[in-house]
Structures are given as structure tokens and as C-alpha cells.
Amino acid sequence: MAEAASLQARDVSLKPGRAAIAETIRAGEIVGLAGLDGHGQETFLKAMAGLETPASGKIMLGVEGNGRPITSLAKAASTGIAYLPRDRRSTGIFPTQSILDNFAISTVGRDMRFGLISKAERRKRYETYREKLSIVAPHPNAPITALSGGNQQKVLLARALALEPKFLLLNDPTRGVDVATRHVLYDVFRGLAADGMALVILSSEIEEILVLCHRVLVFREHEVAARFSGEGMTTDAVIAGMFGRAA
């Protein structure tokens, strides 16, 4: 059997002169990105999504030693990488549009019947994700702004999942989301990973990374300052890494 494709960072420098990062994200794992705000973890995540070009190095997708470079968001999306943006108010939702339109925007071409879009087809697609993510929403034609923050975030997650990605990149997915919804999302993330999806989660909360991720990369000054996994992944170790102290 062919080896499953992985997402690889090859000698990626986030800023000129910083130590290069070599990293491989494999199917079925949940990788956390931690660090104080603005220490490069977001640039790293966006580079993997094709949204930013790193100072040097390449993002590749494929089997080890043989892959396609990811240089743009369109290329990332077409090769199975989905990205969930951080600030849902300014770069996520379309406030004037309906829930259904917000859900479908990344996959608008998929509901075609005889060359025209079928709303019924789109509704059907939305309903499967609404159930999977237990989105609490009125009619799908209601404006997205009628939903709570947590449910808006679920619609955005449904938008990303509708791409049926193999790699899901999440930029602080539970920011401003209530506790109950958080746990629903955690279960969803674990389920996706169990089904073979690779997830990269940037989180500003260490607790979240500890309960969710298999391993964590701690960023400091645009370099990976520490890597932890399994037993070594503790709050103290991660915090020490974030502040550049040896644990």
C-alpha cells in the first residue's frame, strides 16, 4: 500500500535569519501550535494554508521526498488542505448572507444540476454537517448574524469540512466560543482525526492543546523553541518553552 500523503515543512524560515523548521504532519494526528501571540505560529499555520509565503523554504504535500509545493490558497484547497480563519467577525463570516450561503461559499460549484445550482442539493449537503456538528440554527436561509458565536464558528467549520480535506488547519478555533460548544468541537476534532484526517490547531489556550493534541510545537521568536509529546506535554513545560526557559 502506498504511504499516506503528509504535509511537510521543508527548511521553512518564518523570518530571514531564523532557524529553519522541518516538520511533517501525518494522517490521523492532531498537532498543536503554541506560543505567545505574534511569535510565528500564525505565520507558520498560514504558510501551510498557502496564505503566506515563508522567508525561505517550502511547504510540500505528498509522500516523503516527493510532493507538490503549496504556494497559494487555491492550490492548498485543491490538494485537500482546508483553513479555518481566526477572527470570524472580520475574516470569517459574510454578515449580509444567509447561513446556507456562508456554509457553501468554498464549495459553490458542487450543487450543480444541469449547469445551474440546485438549492435543494445544497440544503441536503448542509443538513449532514448541521447534524454532525450539532449546529443550533433556525432556517438555513436566516442571516448568519442570527446565530450565537459558537454556532457561527460551527458553520465556518462546516464550510471547511465541506471541502473534504485531508489536512485541517485551525486558527484558534474556540476563541470566543462557549464551554459547551467547545466540548462538542473537541469531540468532532477527535472523531475527524480517528477517521484519518490530520489536524493542526493553533490555540492561545494551553489547556486546550493539552487535552486535544498528540504533540505540540512551541514557537518563540519565529522559531520552534520546543517540541513535546505524550508524557512530556505538561502546562509547565509548554509555558517554559513559550518564555524561552528550559523546563
Binding site: 490558497l73 472580520s90 459574510f94 448572507q97 468554498s106 445550482i117 442570527a146
Partner: protein
């Protein structure tokens, strides 16, 4: 709830004030001037309103695309199409076939729209400045090739302002109905709603906006033909007068100048409301100066009422 009734309800809320105004004005017009609004006269009546409806509908796509998208060259483009079709093609080259004149008008519209789109989306010049340039160029070129009004227009074209006046409008709305069922429409509304979010969601923002300008140009080409049909001649001075009144009609019809809200049907309703107001005041023999004041007052009232309605709706949500 029945989906038809629901979408009808959403539509009424969207076009809101303009629709109410339209119904009231229609009723008053019918009472005061039954002969003019007799079914036998509908062809001519629609032909009279058609250029304004066309100009409003043409202005809508770029406005829907958001981030200050606007095309003020719609009016002069209509005048330019009018001049080329009559002066250059019909009178000088002797071509009268609709199979040449219609595609020529659409092509001129598409080319000018593409030029506007290139300036506004690729060079990223502010749309109002870019299309102001086009406005001045087109108005000047039109006056150069056509210093004074000339006529006539081909007979088939004149019929488009009479018994067949519904045809070009029908064609526009059929086209828009089809566009609404393509992925492009969803992308257009998303870009208009929030272009940064659209970019992160994988929408090709620049391409979508560029196509909106081309669409505006093509629709302005059709509006130019409808104008030609109505005046039955070529006149270099009429086209530019449509620009501002079309934008007034668009915002009256519930299309947000911020983008991502409204549609072509709303724009048409706004235009019809303005046309009915025009016809009512003309029936009272009111001077055209007062007409301008009335346009302005109605527009300000509509914009204020829409803003109040939106704020109310928003408050309902956050509670």
C-alpha cells in the same frame, strides 16, 4: 412556512420602502391619469421607463461587488452606444440588421466594462475616480462623433420602445435569473459582503469583481439600445443624465452601496418608483427643477428609512 412565501417576504423586506412607494405612486397615477396607464398603452409606458430601469440594473453588479464599487460611466456609455449604433453603424455604414447592431452594442459595453474593471480591480484605482475618467472620455468622444442629434433609428429598434418594449427587459431579467443560479452569484455576494473573508474562503476576489464590471458594461450596452429605441434617433446629450438618477434608483431599491446586499430586481423597482414619481409630477405640470428636488427628497428619505430598518433588525438579533 411555504418557501415561496418566505422568499417573497425576504424580498419585500429587502426592497422595502421602494416597493411601498411604487404601489402608492402606481395607485395615485392610475387615479389621476387612467388613459396613460390603460393596458393598451403599457407597451409605450414600459418603453418610456426602460432606459432608466436599464441604467439602474446596469449600475447594480459593481455596487453589489462592494468596497466602493461603482460605475458612474453607465450613462455616457449608454449615450456612446446610442451614437455608435445610429451614427456610425446605421447611417454611415448602412447596417440595420439587429444581428449586427445588438452584438455591437453588447460588445462595446463589454469592452468599456472590461476597461473599467481593469482600472478598478487590477490597477486598484478607486472605482469612482476610474469610472469618472471613463465618463469624461466617453462623453467627449460621443460629442466628437456626433456634435448634434441625428435620426432616424431602424424600425425594428423603434418597435422596442412600443409594443415589444418588454423584450429587452425580459432578456435582462432572464439573464440575471440564470446568473443567480451559478456559483458566480454566490461569490459576487460574498465578495461584496466581506472581501477579506471571501479571500480566506478561497474566492478569487479580483476575478469576481472584474466580471462584475464587464456585466455592468454589457447591461449598460442593452440600456443604450433601449435609450436608442425610445428616442428613435441619436442624441449626444441624453446618456450622461442617466448616471446619477440610476444610482439614486439603485439605493432606493435597497441595494447597499457598501455591497453584498440587494439585487437587480430591487434596482428595477427603485427605477420604476422614480419613473412613476416623474410621471405623476409631470401630470401636475410641475417644473423639472422641482422634479429634481423631489428625487433628492425621496432618496434621502429612503436611505434614512432603510438605515433605521437595518438598525432595528440588528437590534432584534443581538437581543
Amino acid at each position: 412556512m411555504n418557501p415561496v412565501i418566505r422568499s417573497l417576504g425576504e424580498f419585500v423586506r429587502g426592497a422595502g420602502f421602494a416597493l411601498v412607494l411604487l404601489v402608492v405612486l402606481l395607485a395615485v397615477n392610475l387615479m389621476l391619469n387612467p388613459a396613460r396607464f390603460h393596458p393598451a398603452a403599457w407597451g409605450t409606458l414600459i418603453g418610456l421607463a426602460a432606459p432608466l430601469i436599464g441604467a439602474a440594473v446596469a449600475s447594480a453588479p459593481v455596487i453589489l461587488a462592494g468596497r466602493g464599487g461603482i460605475d458612474i460611466s453607465v450613462g455616457p456609455l449608454m449615450g456612446f452606444v446610442n451614437a455608435i449604433v445610429i451614427q456610425a453603424l446605421f447611417l454611415q455604414a448602412g447596417i440595420s440588421s439587429p444581428l449586427v447592431l445588438v452584438p455591437a452594442a453588447l460588445l462595446i459595453g463589454a469592452v468599456v466594462g472590461a476597461a473599467n474593471g481593469f482600472m478598478a480591480t487590477v490597477l486598484r484605482i478607486q472605482p469612482i475616480v476610474a469610472t469618472l475618467g471613463t465618463y469624461l472620455i466617453l462623453a467627449g468622444v460621443t460629442l466628437t462623433i456626433l456634435p448634434a442629434p441625428v435620426g432616424p433609428a431602424p424600425a425594428w429598434l423603434k418597435a422596442m420602445a412600443g409594443p415589444y418594449s418588454i423584450l429587452p427587459l425580459g432578456a435582462i431579467f432572464l439573464l440575471w435569473w440564470l446568473v443567480r443560479r451559478t456559483p458566480y452569484y454566490d461569490q459576487l455576494m460574498a465578495v461584496g459582503s466581506d472581501d477579506r473573508a471571501a479571500y480566506t474562503a478561497g474566492v478569487p476576489v479580483t476575478k469576481v469583481r472584474f466580471i462584475a464590471y464587464v456585466m455592468t458594461g454589457v447591461l449598460a450596452g442593452i440600456a443604450g439600445l433601449m435609450l436608442t429605441a425610445l428616442i428613435g434617433s441619436a442624441d449626444p446629450n441624453i446618456g450622461p443624465t442617466y448616471t446619477l438618477i440610476a444610482i439614486a434608483a439603485v439605493s432606493l431599491g435597497g441595494v447597499s452601496l457598501a455591497g453584498g446586499k440587494g439585487g437587480l430586481v430591487g434596482a428595477a423597482i427603485g427605477a420604476i418608483a422614480i419613473f412613476l414619481l416623474q410621471s405623476l409630477l409631470t401630470a401636475f405640470n410641475v417644473s423639472t427643477y422641482v422634479l429634481q428636488v423631489a428625487y433628492g427628497a425621496i432618496l434621502v428619505a429612503a436611505v434614512v428609512l432603510t438605515a433605521l430598518q437595518d438598525r432595528h433588525a440588528l437590534r432584534g438579533v443581538s437581543r
